[in-house]
Structure formats: structure tokens, C-alpha cells
């Protein structure tokens, strides 16, 4: 019983769109998922030495039905300029998942047709899945009965 984890590709932000387009030509016809990761509090990552770690990472999962293969593209996105090209022109199906990544991490996808919040209300402040966004607590209102019982 082998869990297929596939291979991982680490392009730079400039190469990213081109690399994915190349993968699409190679036969990876479906983009199953786009998600973000905030590595703010992570102690250290197993990145190859050539790749400079940044705070955010966008992870793209591609599937080739013909070759029955999966490939994962991990791109580093700096905190100072969290912008990355959208894959919408290659895979229209990433529309919602890129919006979710924008909503949850504040990573902007350039040339996305509708870069709005998807899960949170449109006037929401902050990006909930960032590590410096707290979970939030509801204050306990009735702690104990007043006076002696």
C-alpha cells in the first residue's frame, strides 16, 4: 500500500507561470488544487539549497490523467510583495481556489478575473489563516452565580 506523494517542483516566482504552462503541455491537464501556507512560525523547512525560503508559499497540485502522475509546484511568495501570477488562463478551475488563497492568506493573484473574498464577508479585515491572525475567543459571560449558593 503506497501513498503516492508524487514529485515536487520549486520554481521561482518569475518562472512560476511558465513552469506550470510547460507542465500543462507535458500532459498535466488538470489543476486539482491551489492552496497557501504561511511559514511564519515554522522552525525550518526542508527546502532545496537553491530555494530561498519566504514567509508564504503557494502550493499547486497538478494531475496528469494520461500518465497517472501527480506533481506539486511550490512557489515562495515574499511577505513584502505577496503577488503571484494567476493560473486562470491555463486552468479556469483555479478561480475559486485562488480566491480562497487570497481570502485566507492575502496573497494576490495578478490577472485573476475576480479577486474578491470568497469564504469571509467582503468587508472582513485580515486574512484568517495567517499565523499571526489569532483564533479568537468568545468571552465567558456567566462565570459564577453571584453571592452564596
Amino acid at each position: 500500500m503506497a501513498v503516492m506523494t508524487g514529485e515536487v517542483i520549486h520554481p521561482s516566482r518569475d518562472e512560476y507561470h511558465q513552469v506550470v504552462a510547460g507542465l500543462k503541455d507535458e500532459g498535466f491537464e488538470m489543476c486539482v488544487d491551489v492552496c497557501g501556507v504561511d511559514y511564519l512560525a515554522h522552525p525550518g523547512r526542508g527546502l532545496p539549497p537553491e530555494v530561498r525560503p519566504e514567509r508564504f508559499e503557494v502550493v499547486v497540485n497538478l494531475v496528469s490523467m494520461e500518465h497517472r502522475r501527480r506533481v506539486r509546484v511550490r512557489v515562495q511568495v515574499p511577505e513584502s510583495d505577496p503577488t503571484i501570477p494567476s493560473l486562470f488562463d491555463l486552468y479556469p478551475g483555479v478561480e475559486a481556489s485562488e480566491r480562497e488563497t487570497f481570502d485566507m492568506f492575502g496573497i494576490h493573484f495578478a490577472d485573476h478575473p475576480d479577486m474578491t473574498r470568497i469564504l469571509m464577508p467582503e468587508d472582513w479585515e485580515g486574512h484568517p489563516l495567517r499565523k499571526d491572525y489569532s483564533v479568537g475567543r468568545v468571552p465567558v459571560q456567566f462565570k459564577e452565580a453571584p453571592g452564596e449558593r
Binding site: 486539482v32 488544487d33 492552496c35 475559486a96
Partner: protein
């Protein structure tokens, strides 16, 4: 993608002479999606949705934007659909989601891997065992733990039973959306047979927390073979009843045949998986194409459709119930004796009897349930075939007992996007049938 012989241009003869047409490839992706009905809010200012743009005196060529849902009975929860209508014809549609957003991915970062299964099981409330399975498999892949054979077979049995109950509920709600209220009652009635067994095994009808990292929570109860056999005998005659009720029934066929058609290319482009993709004729089923558990050792067929319409999606699901029962029979015959969870002390708490006699066992038990177990650093993506399509789990670990990042690739979330393509050009009443045929679970869409 097919290319024309002449790369850039096509020439068509019309009554006005020769017309040059640009090839489809020349249109930008955004424009194409606007034409196909996928984008309601065009880039660079929401012109189409601005209320000021729509005159009060509506001319014949005016379109109207309406919101269907979020409380519409056919939107399967809290889905809102923004639709641009020309009369009764749907031009464009966009699902608006987020009403059920509970932040389960964020919560997952606050729970240990042991507690994690209780969290993910609540996402897709019709197939909770699939969620637990994908989470457990991802955790085990990071841990590098091998689970015993019996546990793997038990997982397969339970997951397939869950697929049957999920599809049955879909049949019920689909019937209700098409005003076949007897189907509504039938589907729930049959689902109860399966849920009774799940309750007997796991203790709960839903949100089982039965499949856990390292195996399953408990062994199958005594006499489970008889129960499974009873289920396998009870469901097929009922499926024949559904055939009588739906397949070949003129009203149902007219409401579904040719309604909500989607091509294989469009389904792949919009990342649709599961019955939606298979209804277009693409035999893509992860159980067969990228086998996990022991699916490569059992005999079953991948059901595919031809036209990709609502009727095909109905037929695919109906026949998938039959295939699942086939798998369940084989699994029941082949389950070996053995452990139902791994004996790795790191993951599995000591047996109850040991706690009474050994202080170390008590401490160990306590530590596992308070602190959890540490998972080595790394990241992994594991996908399984849930009743709705590819259910994936992306886990990032930083070496602590809690996941650093838990992301669930929910099939309904992606499948919903193919809806715009399906409803384009159809009628509002068809939209109801189409939304139903996608089988979205809003708990999973919003997570």
C-alpha cells in the same frame, strides 16, 4: 485540446460572403469564461452587477440579475447563486459561498493529530468516513507508519458502505428537487439500513471519528458478516425500485436528459472530479487509476456516462451503488484476522487491561491523549475518491504534535465551479436540477 489545421484563422461561408473567424484559442481565458457564463463580475469594475445600471423600465433586451438562495430548499444547505437571466434563460451564474464557513482548517492547527479526525469528520457530513480516511492516511504518510492488513480492509468496508449511504441520500434529495417526493422517503429509508450498521460499529450515525491515524477505533462487532450480508441483500431490490421510479420514466427523463450538459474538456478545465467528470465519459476514478488501500485487489467497474448531462450523473451514481455493494461483498469475504490498529506504541495507546496493571502504561496512555504524538517534519498531499470526487489532504508538519497547516481539497468546492458552465443557456427550473446533480455539500465547500 484540438487544434485546427489552419493555426490562427478559420473561414466560413455565409450568406454575406466569406467570413473570417478567429480560432477559439485566440480568445483570452477571461473572455471565454464570460461567454460560457462562468464570470458574473467582469474584471475592472463590476459593471454587470451594478444596480444603477439596470433601468427601472426594463426593455425586452434587458437582463435581470437575481439571487437564488441561500435559503432556497434546492440549494442543499446555504448556497447562494447569482444568476443573470434573460427572461427565464440563465445567461451567467456564479455560486456565492461562505455562509457555513467554520474555519476547520484553522481549528485543525489547534488540535493534535489524534483530535484532528474528530474535526475533519464534520466537514462533509454525508461521507464523514472519507474525511477521516484521508486525514489519517496523510498523517500516516508523514509518520511512516504501516497499518495492519485487517485495519485496511475494515477501512475499505466502512468507506464503501459510507459511499452507498451518501449516494442514497443524493438520490433522495435529487428526487425531492425534481418533485419526486416518494424518492425522498425511499432514499432516507434505505440510508437508514446502512447507518444502523455504521452506528453499531462506530457508536454514532454521523461524525464517527472511527478511522484514526494508526488504524480504526475498534474492531468490527460480532456478527458483522450477517449485518453486511443483510445490507447487500436489502439494497439491490430497492435499486430496482428506483429504476422503476426514475429510469425510463418520461417526466424524469425530460427534466434531466440533455439538461446541464458539460463536455469532458470543460469538466477537466474546471477541475471537476467524481461523478461529474465520469458522466462525461472520462474513466477517472482514483480507486482504480491511483489505487490506495487494497482497491487494486478487488474487482469493480468504473462507471462512466456519455453525454455529461444530469441524467448521466444520476445513472453514474445509481450504478456506483451497485459497484460499491460488489466491493463490500468481496471485502467481507476477504477480511483476515489480526489487529485493527498498528502496534506502534508511538501512535496507539496501550490496551485497557494494561492500564490497570502497569504504571508506565497509564502514563503512556495519558501522554498520548494529552500531548499527542510527534509527527516528523515534512509535507504531504494524499487524495482519495470520495462520493463526490477527489478528496485531498495537504498536511504540513513542523515536528510538533499538531499539524502546522491542514488543507482539505474538497471535491464539492471545485465541482461547484462547473455549475456555471452547465446552467448557461438553460432555464431557471433546470438550474434546480443541475445544482442537485452536482451534489454539493456545503459543509465541505466552506469547511
Amino acid at each position: 485540446m484540438s487544434h485546427t489545421d489552419d493555426e490562427s484563422r478559420l473561414v466560413a461561408e455565409t450568406s454575406e460572403g466569406t467570413q473570417e473567424m478567429f480560432s477559439r484559442e485566440g480568445t483570452t481565458a477571461v473572455e471565454r469564461r464570460i461567454e460560457e457564463g462562468g464570470i458574473v463580475r467582469p474584471p475592472g469594475g463590476a459593471t454587470a452587477l451594478d444596480a444603477g445600471d439596470i433601468d427601472i423600465e426594463v426593455g425586452e433586451d434587458e437582463t435581470m440579475i437575481i439571487n437564488m438562495g441561500p435559503q432556497h430548499p434546492s440549494t442543499h444547505g446555504v448556497l447562494r447563486i447569482m444568476m443573470e437571466l434573460d427572461g427565464e434563460t440563465v445567461l451567467r451564474a456564479k455560486p456565492i459561498i461562505g455562509y457555513l464557513h467554520t474555519g476547520m482548517e484553522k481549528t485543525g492547527e489547534d488540535l493534535t493529530y489524534i483530535q484532528g479526525a474528530t474535526n475533519v469528520t464534520r466537514m462533509d457530513y454525508l461521507s464523514p468516513l472519507h474525511n477521516e480516511l484521508v486525514f489519517s492516511m496523510a498523517t500516516e504518510a508523514l509518520l511512516g507508519v504501516e497499518i495492519p492488513e485487517r485495519a485496511t480492509w475494515i477501512r475499505m468496508l466502512m468507506v464503501e458502505l459510507n459511499r452507498v449511504s451518501s449516494h442514497l441520500l443524493w438520490m433522495a434529495t435529487n428526487g425531492m428537487d425534481l418533485a419526486a417526493t416518494s424518492m425522498m422517503i425511499y432514499g432516507f429509508r434505505e440510508r437508514e439500513v446502512v447507518l444502523d450498521f455504521l452506528e453499531k460499529v462506530t457508536g454514532l450515525r454521523m461524525n464517527h471519528n472511527y478511522i484514526r491515524p494508526g488504524g480504526v477505533a475498534a474492531d468490527l462487532p460480532d456478527g458483522w458478516q450477517d449485518d453486511v450480508e443483510a445490507i447487500c441483500q436489502a439494497i439491490p431490490p430497492r435499486l430496482a425500485e428506483y429504476d422503476d421510479l426514475f429510469t425510463g420514466q418520461p417526466i424524469f427523463r425530460e427534466r434531466t436528459e440533455g439538461v446541464g450538459r458539460i463536455s469532458a474538456e470543460a469538466a477537466i478545465a474546471s477541475s471537476a472530479t467524481g461523478p461529474i467528470l465520469r458522466s462525461t465519459g472520462v474513466p477517472w476514478d482514483l480507486r482504480r487509476t491511483m489505487p490506495y488501500l487494497f482497491y487494486d485487489q478487488v474487482d469493480f467497474d468504473v462507471v462512466v456516462g456519455t453525454y455529461g448531462d444530469s441524467f448521466d450523473r444520476y445513472a453514474v451514481r445509481l450504478n456506483e451503488i451497485r459497484e460499491s455493494l460488489r466491493i463490500i461483498r468481496q471485502v467481507a469475504d476477504r477480511i483476515p484476522e489480526g489487529d485493527y490498529r498498528t502496534l506502534d506504541k508511538k501512535v496507539t495507546p496501550p490496551p485497557r487491561a494494561r492500564i490497570d496493571e502497569s504504571m508506565e502504561a497509564l502514563i503512556h496512555h495519558f501522554k498520548i491523549f494529552t500531548e499527542g504524538f510527534k509527527v516528523p517534519e515534512g509535507e504531504v498531499y494524499v487524495a482519495i475518491e470520495s462520493p463526490r470526487g477527489e478528496l485531498g489532504c495537504y498536511l504540513v508538519s513542523d515536528g510538533s504534535p499538531k499539524p502546522y497547516r491542514l488543507h482539505i481539497r474538497a471535491p464539492s468546492f471545485s465541482n461547484l465551479q462547473s455549475m456555471a458552465n452547465m446552467v448557461h443557456g438553460g432555464l431557471v427550473a433546470d438550474a434546480v436540477a443541475i445544482i442537485s446533480s452536482i451534489d454539493p455539500i456545503l459543509g465541505e465547500v466552506d469547511r
